[in-house]
Structures are given as C-alpha cells and as structure tokens.
C-alpha cells in the first residue's frame, strides 16, 4: 500500500526537467524538492541536465556588452548636449 503510493508520487524524467527552474529559484514546496532530489539521486541523465542548466545560466551571465560603434557614441553625445543646452536655468516646466 505505502509502496504503491510512493511509486505513484515518483517523478519521471520528463517531469523532472520541467522542475529545474523552480528548483533553482527555490520555488518548489519542500515535498516537491525532496521528490526532485530523490529523482536526481537515481538518475544520472537528469543530474547532467541540471548541471547543464546551471552552466547555461553561467554562460549567459558572462556575455559581455558589445561596444557601441563610434557613430552611435556620437549620437548619444549629441543627445546629451542637446539636452544640456535645452536646460533652462530655472526649473523646467514639465508636462
């Protein structure tokens, strides 16, 4: 009886891959986290999958900003200067 209930509550891989983000975000209930971790303990593929998701996040986080082209930089400098010269000495009336 107990065994049957436990089995029904076991996660399969296809469900486990959908829980990865909630797991990493700490958004799983305690029971779901236990089920997920129990699944990982017996499943090298899902363990690998979790590691890959972590690596993916890490890689995304290391993307560097593309440099602005000199032309774009000039455009923004113009934008700034126009704004500066448009600034009255007093408080500008804002709509």
């Amino acid at each position: 009886m107990i065994r049957l209930r436990l089995r029904r509550r076991d996660l399969v891989c296809q469900q486990a891959v959908e829980l990865v983000t909630d797991y990493l975000e700490g958004a799983l209930s305690r029971a779901d986290r236990r089920r997920y971790e129990a699944h990982l303990a017996g499943c090298p593929h899902c363990t690998e999958y979790l590691a890959q998701m972590r690596k993916t996040i890490e890689l995304t986080g290391t993307l560097t900003t593309d440099d602005l082209t000199p032309q774009m930089q000039d455009e923004f400098i113009d934008l700034y200067r126009q704004w500066r010269t448009g600034q009255p000495g007093d408080e500008p009336p804002q709509p």
């Binding site: 399969v12 891989c13 296809q14 891959v17 983000t21 593929h45 993916t56 995304t60 923004f76």
Partner: protein
C-alpha cells in the same frame, strides 16, 4: 568594463559630466536594445526607444531618489516607452510560449529519457573558444520568443533579481518563472545542438 558603480556615475552625471553619460549608455545599451526589440517591430524603432529612454533619464535624473536601483528605474522607463510604442506599432500576441523544456520525443512512454542529454559541459570548457560559444548564446537569445527574451535578458544577463524583473515587466512571480524556465531551456538546447556529443 570600468569599475565605476552606477551610483558613482549618477553623481558625476548630475554634475554635468558627459563622459559619465557615455559610460552608462555603453553599459546598458545592449540590454536596452535587446529588451526594446522584444516590444517593437524593428531595430530602428528599438533604437528610437532606447534614445527616448535616455532622454527620459536625463530629464528625470534630478527627481530620481535611488529608492530602486538605477538599472531597475532605467529598465522600467524603457519598458513603459517600448510598450506604448509597440502597442501603436503592432498588436502583440498573448502568451504564445507553449512548449516543453525538452522535446517529448526524447522520452519514452513512461517519461524516462530515451535520448538523454548529450554531453557538452566539458566540451565548452575545454575545446571551444569562448568567442564562438558567446556568439552562439547571443544568437540563441535573439531567437527566443519576445517574453522569454525579456526575462532572460534582465535576469541572466543583467543580473536583476526576480522581484526586480517582475516590477520592470509588470508580471507575476510565477509568470516570470515560467518564462525564465522556457527561455533557459531553449538556450540549453541550442548549446547541446551545437556542441553536444552523444553519451
């Protein structure tokens, strides 16, 4: 990247330092452009939204009290402008991001892996030049559905907290997690497709 914090640069900008403005623009341009592009129909309009946002920043800077971080404030202005521009330019589709983290065909009838994840972590760490991989990830981010791209850009590239992202995009926590999950899952798949070797 320079070591100046946003707060340092804001102080300088308030004092009229043009260079500080350029550094801030440089720092956030890619993320702003990526984010704006997800609301509006083309790159030219996205650039306009970005410029318009900076103008809004300059106008509002004396009133910015720093209760939220500068970048949260910046992205909020951007999203508001991009959204109103985008609504004029096109009707956005609702959620639209259905789809599983991993294609159903890779599992058997019981839901167990039939075609398990191919290995690539070691590959990308040892063999591949960083530039090539960065290019792949960047392209894959561009290919994400709009709402996934918004969340992934803010969370995983810019490093905002989930709370900040919800505030900027005006979405719920659970919605944010779903979009993040789908976006990250697609990125993982893109890397596997390119670099994976069968187990």
């Amino acid at each position: 990247m320079g070591q100046d914090t946003d707060a340092d640069l804001l102080v300088r900008l308030r004092a009229g330092d043009e260079r500080a403005f350029v550094i801030l623009v440089q720092r956030y341009h890619a993320a702003m452009f990526r984010l704006a592009s997800s609301f509006v129909p083309n790159a030219a309009v996205a650039e306009e939204v970005v410029q318009d946002t900076w103008l809004g920043v300059l106008r509002g800077i004396s009133g910015f009290e720093g209760r939220s971080s500068f970048r949260t404030w910046l992205f909020r202005i951007l999203v508001n402008r991009a959204r109103s521009t985008g609504e004029r330019e096109r009707r956005t589709v609702a959620i639209g991001d259905t789809g599983a983290a991993v294609a159903a065909s890779r599992f058997d009838g019981s839901g167990a892996w039939l075609s398990p994840p191919e290995h690539w972590i070691e590959e990308v760490e040892n063999r591949i030049e960083a530039g090539k991989l960065a290019g792949l990830v960047r392209t894959a981010i561009w290919d994400l559905p709009d709402r996934q791209r918004q969340v992934v850009t803010l969370r995983d590239i810019e490093g905002l907290t989930s709370e900040e992202v919800c505030g900027v995009l005006e979405i719920s926590e659970s919605n944010q997690r779903v979009l993040l999950h789908r976006g990250r899952s697609r990125l993982r798949q893109a890397i596997e497709t390119q670099f994976g070797v069968p187990s």
